[in-house]
Symmetry: C2
Subunit: 148 residues, 2 copies
DNA sequence: CTTTGTTGTAACCTTTCTTGTTACAACTAT
DNA sequence: ATAGTTGTAACAAGAAAGGTTACAACAAAG
């Protein structure tokens, strides 16, 4: 199964804050129209990102903004904020290997470390990409594709 | 969302073949009792592993065996055999970013490469682990935990 | 050539998760 | 007070995982 679109939507949210902050108020409706999903989906995501200390959201008057510098937020922070992995584990292990079978007994001790190793490789790569990187790429793309 | 247990079950299947080949006939019932899931689940997985050219399964008489040397099969092969990612992509991208919004327009060109980069890191790590490695670890574990 | 054990597959079910939707109380600035 | 928001509850549809029963097709052995 694929990782849910909450991750890419969250990054889209950050990009909108970066590009439109000051110019527009970044409300759930504004974001919903750029991402083209329901505003309530956005609000739930904003809640998760706020919970994780990545953004601030104003009640009543409305509007989202960054809680940290873009260089201080990496894609793993975003991923962990919106993608709740059961027990923090990327891989779902079958629940009841038979302890009366040698293989059933050894499969956890043998595999757990390997699965962690794979997950860490993914997480390390996510960690190496900051929102600053994404924002730079976005700005570059927009410059190149705006003048004539 | 977590990656389905088909992956760890598949590795468990291979370990059983390694440990019990010759001694027992590796049927879906035998595997089901070690893994403690329904035999039909196993048969579907055996079908996927066979389809991918990783194992051979005897109809009628029954029994599964490796189609290649353990050193020739790595965890990415197993993962790809049993985990059908939509379009081969680990991350599900939100479907309809608004092309009339600068951010909506740039989010795909900016992110696609990054997501691929993250997925490749995971795949590379999977590729670096062969069934031979797993089998060695299993044998070592079983030796250490058998003689008093 | 019948029996037995097995695979391959269809059909169905339950749970869980994602995504989408409406509704509305609580809140804040004007 | 009003208007525009957020936060949340409640619900629904769809997909996927995991489970289960049933059975035809098959292969080896008596």
């Amino acid at each position: 199964m694929q990782i849910s679109s909450r991750f890419t939507i969250a990054i889209h949210i950050f990009s909108c804050i970066n590009t439109f902050e000051g110019e527009y108020k970044i409300t759930s409706y504004f974001l919903a129209s750029s991402i083209q999903v329901n505003p309530v989906i956005i609000r739930k995501l904003l809640g998760q990102l706020k919970e994780a200390g990545l953004i601030e959201v104003k009640r009543g008057s409305g509007g989202a903004s960054l809680a940290k510098a873009p260089s201080e937020i990496n894609l793993l922070d975003v991923f962990n904020a919106v993608e709740s992995l059961d027990d923090g584990k990327l891989f779902h292990f079958h629940e009841n290997p038979n302890p009366d079978c040698p293989v059933g007994r050894s499969v956890h001790p043998v595999l757990d470390g390997r699965l962690e190793q794979i997950q860490r490789a993914m997480e390390k790569e996510m960690q190496s990409i900051s929102l600053e990187d994404i924002f730079k790429d976005t700005n570059k793309y927009l410059e190149q594709n705006s003048h004539s």
